[in-house]
C-alpha cells in the first residue's frame, strides 16, 4: 500500500484502463492539452495520443451525444464533465439516450459509457455551478451511480465503471481531489464492485449513512461524538445505485438509530429514499425517527458564510445524532 491523492488515483484508473483496452477513450473539455481542468488526466495525452484523449468545444450536449454514438458502435467512451453542473446541458443524452438505448433497440445496442467529473458543491461556485446531481440521475432507470469518497474507492470504482457494459456515472468531488489515502500498489488491478457499501468506522449507538463529501464530515462528527460517549458507526454507501441495502439494514439492526448525511438537497433527496427503505424493511428495529442532514432547500449562496450555513457540516451531523439518540 502507498499513500496517493484522490486525483492521482483517478489518473491511475484512467491510465490502466486506457492501457488495458484499445476501445477506451477519454473525451471532454480541456482533458488533453491542458491535462484536465483539475489535472485528473495529467500526462494522458502524451502517453495515449490525440486519437484517444480528445479535447472538445464547450458543447456538453454534443460530446455527450457523440459518446453515446461511439458506445453504440463498440467503443468504451469516458466522457468528462468539467463539473456535473454542466452535465445538465447534456441532460437529454445522459438520461434519455444512454440509459434507454438498450431497451429501445430491443437489446441491440448496449451503451458501455462512463460519465465522470466533479459533482456537488465545492467552494463559492455559486448556485449554477454547485449542483449535487445524484438525486436527479438516480431517478432514471438504466443509470448506475457511484460516489467515491477516498482515493482507493475512486480508483477501484472508476475502473469498474469503465469495464461495465452499461452507462455508469462516477460522481467525484472537487473538494476531495487533493485528499490522500492508502491504495494498493500499481501492479494490483484494483476493482471495487458497484453496489457495495463500506463501513468506514464501527460503532454501536447510531449509524451515520453517508457518501462522497459527507463521508469525511461524518467521520469527523463520529470522532467528536466519541468524546461525548456516543459511539457512531459510519457507513459509506460508495454506490447510490445499485444501493447496498443489506449493509444499511445490517448496520441499523445493530444500532437502531440513523442519521442520513447527504450532499444533495432535502426534497426528494437520496436520504428520502433510504429512510423509506429502512422503515419499510425493518420498522421494528428503529428506536427513534430517522434524521437527515443535507443542503438547505435554497439556491446555493455565493457568500461564503451563507454557503457554509447552507451546506451539510460535521456540526449539523453531530446535532442530528444527538437528536436521534435523545442525548
Amino acid at each position: 500500500m502507498r499513500e496517493i491523492t484522490y486525483r492521482q488515483a483517478l489518473n491511475e484508473a484512467l491510465a490502466e484502463e486506457l492501457e488495458r483496452d484499445q476501445n477506451v477513450f477519454l473525451m471532454g473539455e480541456e482533458v488533453a492539452q491542458y491535462n484536465g481542468a483539475y489535472k485528473v488526466s495529467q500526462g494522458l495525452l502524451d502517453r495515449f495520443g490525440p486519437m484517444r484523449i480528445i479535447d472538445t468545444p464547450i458543447s456538453e450536449n454534443g460530446f455527450a451525444g457523440m459518446g453515446v454514438g461511439a458506445a453504440m458502435v463498440g467503443l468504451r467512451p469516458i466522457i468528462e464533465f468539467m463539473t456535473f453542473s454542466f452535465s445538465l446541458v447534456a441532460f437529454d443524452q445522459v438520461v434519455n439516450n444512454a440509459p434507454n438505448m438498450l431497451t429501445m433497440s430491443g437489446g441491440q445496442f448496449n451503451i458501455p459509457i462512463t460519465f465522470r467529473g466533479p459533482n456537488g458543491p465545492a467552494h463559492q461556485l455559486g448556485a449554477t455551478h454547485s449542483h449535487a446531481t445524484e438525486c436527479l440521475y438516480a431517478n432514471f432507470p438504466g443509470l448506475k451511480i457511484c460516489t467515491p469518497a477516498t482515493p482507493r474507492d475512486a480508483k477501484g470504482l472508476l475502473k469498474t465503471a469503465i469495464r461495465d457494459n452499461n452507462p455508469v456515472l462516477v460522481l467525484e468531488s472537487e473538494l476531495l481531489y487533493s485528499s490522500k489515502g492508502m491504495v494498493e500498489p500499481l501492479e494490483h488491478d484494483l476493482l471495487i464492485p458497484l453496489g457495495q457499501a463500506e463501513l468506514k468506522r464501527e460503532g454501536s449507538d447510531v449509524t451515520i449513512i453517508c457518501y462522497a463529501q459527507t463521508v469525511p464530515l461524518a467521520l469527523a462528527a463520529a470522532e467528536a461524538l466519541e468524546g461525548e460517549e456516543i459511539s457512531a458507526e459510519v457507513l459509506d454507501l460508495r454506490s447510490i445505485k445499485p444501493l447496498d441495502l443489506q449493509a444499511i439494514l445490517a448496520s441499523v439492526s445493530k444500532t437502531h438509530r440513523v442519521v442520513v448525511a447527504e450532499q444533495d438537497r432535502p426534497y426528494c433527496g437520496i436520504g428520502a429514499e433510504i429512510c423509506y427503505r429502512i422503515q419499510k424493511e425493518i420498522f421494528d428495529e428503529l428506536d427513534a425517527p430517522i434524521a437527515r442532514v443535507s443542503q438547505e432547500d435554497v439556491p446555493m449562496p455565493y457568500n461564503e458564510r451563507l454557503e457554509q450555513a447552507a451546506l451539510p457540516s460535521a456540526e449539523k451531523i453531530m446535532a442530528a445524532v444527538k437528536k436521534v439518540c435523545y442525548a
Binding site: 437502531h256 420498522f283 421494528d284 428495529e285 428503529l286 428506536d287 427513534a288 435523545y326
Partner: protein, 444 residues
C-alpha cells in the same frame, strides 16, 4: 355459504354471550330474521341474520361466551352441511391421523405473543373498526360524534420498544418513557425487564396479601362489570381529576316542583322531578359555557356543538350511562320523558348500543340514596361529571342575617384538568347555580 361470527355490537364490545338461539338447528332463516339474543358488555340485544339460508350448524350453545369475530354458526344453502373441522387453517392431509390433527390444532392455539401484540398496537376500538364491516350492517352503531374513540391515550413507543415489549411480555403502558414526549425507547423496556426480574412487579396493582377471611363467593365478572372496571381505571389513572363543590339554595326549586306537581295533577308535568330540573340546568349551563362541553383528544381539545347528556343509571349488576343526544334542543318536559324512558329500558336491558355512546358529560345523582355529597369519576373522554347529592333541610343564615330553615343541594363537579381549568369550572357552576336558584328560567 358462510360461517357467521360474533358481531361487534358496541364500540367497547370485545366478547359476547349467546343468551338464546331464536332459531333451531336446521331451521330456515332469512336476512333480517332474529336468530339469537346476544349479551354485550352493555346490553342484551336481538341479533338478525346476515344471510338467507338454513341454520345448518350451531357452534356456540346458549350461555357460551366468545370473542368478537369468533364463529357462532353456519348458515348453508338447502341441504348444505357445515364444513368439518373448520378451525384448521392449514389442514393436514385428509388421511392424517386424528391425533396429528389435534396436535396441529393445539399448536395453532399456542402463539400467544401475536395476541398480546395485537392488544398493544391497537386499542380495541380500532381493532373493531376493521371487524365492523363484516356483520349485519343494520346493527352497526353510527354515532354522529365519537368522542369515545379516543378512550385511552395511545402509549408512545418506538417500533423497536414495541417489538421488545411484546417479546418480553412487558406492558408498555406501565413504563415511563424517557424519549421526547414520553416516548418509550428500547432502553426503557430493557430497564423495565430488568427491574421486573430483580424484584416483585411494581407495575401491577396485584393483590398484595391473600385475604384470610375465607372466600365466600367468587362472582364472575359480567361484561358490564369488566367495562366499568376498565374504563374507570382508564379514567382515574391518566385523567387528572380535580373537584369543585357548591351548595345551592334549593328552596325555589322545591317550590317550583311542588307547584308543577299540584297544578298539573294527573298530567305528566306532575311527574317532573328535582333531578329533571338539575339535568335541564346542567344542559343549559353547558350551552351558556360551551368551553366546558369539551373533551381532550391527544393533541387538541374538542368542543362539541351538541350537548349530549349522559345520565348514570344504577342497575342491580352495575351501572350504565345512557345518553340524551342534542339535549340542548329539548324542553324540561322532553328531558324528563327521555330520561325516564332510557332508565326504564336500561333496567330491562333493551337499549341500543348507540344510546350509550357520544355523551359529552355525565350527571350522576345519588340524592335518592340519601347521599349528601360525593365526588364522581369522569367517564372518559368526557371533560367533566356532576355529582348531585340529596336536597336537605338545613339551618341557614338568610339574607337578613337571621337563622332560618332552608333547602340545600350539594353539587360536585369533577373536571379533567387538561380540558377544564378551575376558573372555567367555576364559570360553569356559577351558571348552573343561577339556573337552579331561578328555576322558572328553565321553563322558557
Amino acid at each position: 355459504m358462510p360461517d357467521i361470527h360474533m358481531p361487534k355490537l358496541s364500540d367497547t364490545m370485545t366478547e359476547g354471550t349467546v343468551v338464546a338461539w331464536k332459531k333451531k338447528k336446521g331451521e330456515k332463516v332469512a336476512t333480517g330474521d332474529v336468530i339469537a339474543e346476544i349479551e354485550t358488555d352493555k346490553a342484551t340485544m336481538e341479533w338478525e341474520s346476515p344471510e338467507d339460508g338454513v341454520l345448518a350448524e350451531i357452534y356456540i350453545e346458549e350461555g357460551g361466551k366468545v370473542n368478537v369475530g369468533d364463529k357462532l354458526a353456519f348458515i348453508g344453502g338447502e341441504g348444505e352441511a357445515a364444513p368439518v373441522a373448520p378451525e384448521e387453517a392449514e389442514a393436514p392431509a385428509p388421511e392424517a391421523k386424528k391425533e396429528e390433527s389435534k396436535k396441529a390444532q393445539a399448536e395453532t392455539e399456542m402463539p400467544a405473543p401475536a395476541d398480546q401484540k395485537k392488544e398493544e398496537t391497537a386499542p380495541p376500538q380500532e381493532a373493531g373498526k376493521i371487524e365492523a364491516e363484516k356483520p349485519s350492517a343494520n346493527l352497526q352503531p353510527k354515532p354522529e360524534m365519537q368522542p369515545a374513540t379516543t378512550g385511552q391515550a395511545r402509549v408512545k413507543a418506538s417500533p423497536l420498544a414495541r417489538r421488545l415489549a411484546a417479546e418480553q411480555g412487558v406492558d408498555l403502558s406501565g413504563i415511563n418513557g424517557t424519549g421526547p414526549e414520553g416516548r418509550v425507547t428500547e432502553g426503557d423496556v430493557r430497564a423495565a425487564v430488568k427491574s421486573k426480574a430483580a424484584g416483585p412487579s411494581q407495575t401491577k396493582a396485584a393483590p398484595a396479601t391473600k385475604m384470610q377471611a375465607g372466600e365466600g363467593a367468587r362472582i364472575h365478572l359480567s361484561g358490564m362489570r369488566k367495562v366499568i372496571a376498565e374504563r374507570l381505571v382508564a379514567s382515574k389513572g391518566p385523567v387528572p381529576h380535580f373537584y369543585l363543590n357548591i351548595e345551592i339554595d334549593a328552596g325555589p326549586l322545591m317550590t317550583a316542583r311542588a307547584e308543577l306537581k299540584s297544578a298539573g295533577e294527573g298530567s305528566d308535568t306532575s311527574k317532573i322531578t328535582v333531578n329533571d330540573f338539575v339535568l335541564m340546568a346542567a344542559v343549559q349551563a353547558a350551552v351558556k359555557v360551551p368551553k366546558a362541553n369539551a373533551s381532550f383528544d391527544e393533541d387538541a381539545i374538542v368542543q362539541y356543538t351538541d350537548v349530549n347528556l349522559a345520565v348514570a343509571v344504577a342497575l342491580d349488576e352495575g351501572l350504565v350511562t345512557p345518553v340524551i343526544t342534542a339535549a340542548q334542543t329539548k324542553s324540561l318536559r322532553e328531558i324528563s320523558a327521555a330520561v325516564k324512558d332510557l332508565a326504564q329500558r336500561a333496567r330491562n336491558k333493551r337499549m341500543k348500543p348507540e344510546e350509550f355512546q357520544g355523551g359529552t358529560f355525565t350527571v350522576s345523582n345519588l340524592g335518592g340514596y340519601g347521599i349528601d355529597s360525593f365526588s364522581a369519576i369522569i367517564n372518559p373522554p368526557q371533560g367533566f361529571i356532576l355529582a348531585i347529592g340529596a336536597v336537605s333541610k338545613r339551618a341557614i343564615v338568610d339574607d337578613c342575617d337571621q337563622l332560618a330553615v332552608g333547602h340545600r343541594l350539594a353539587i360536585t363537579m369533577s373536571c379533567d384538568h387538561r380540558v377544564i381549568d378551575g376558573a372555567l369550572g367555576a364559570e360553569y357552576l356559577k351558571e348552573l347555580r343561577r339556573l337552579l336558584e331561578n328555576p322558572t328560567l328553565l321553563l322558557i
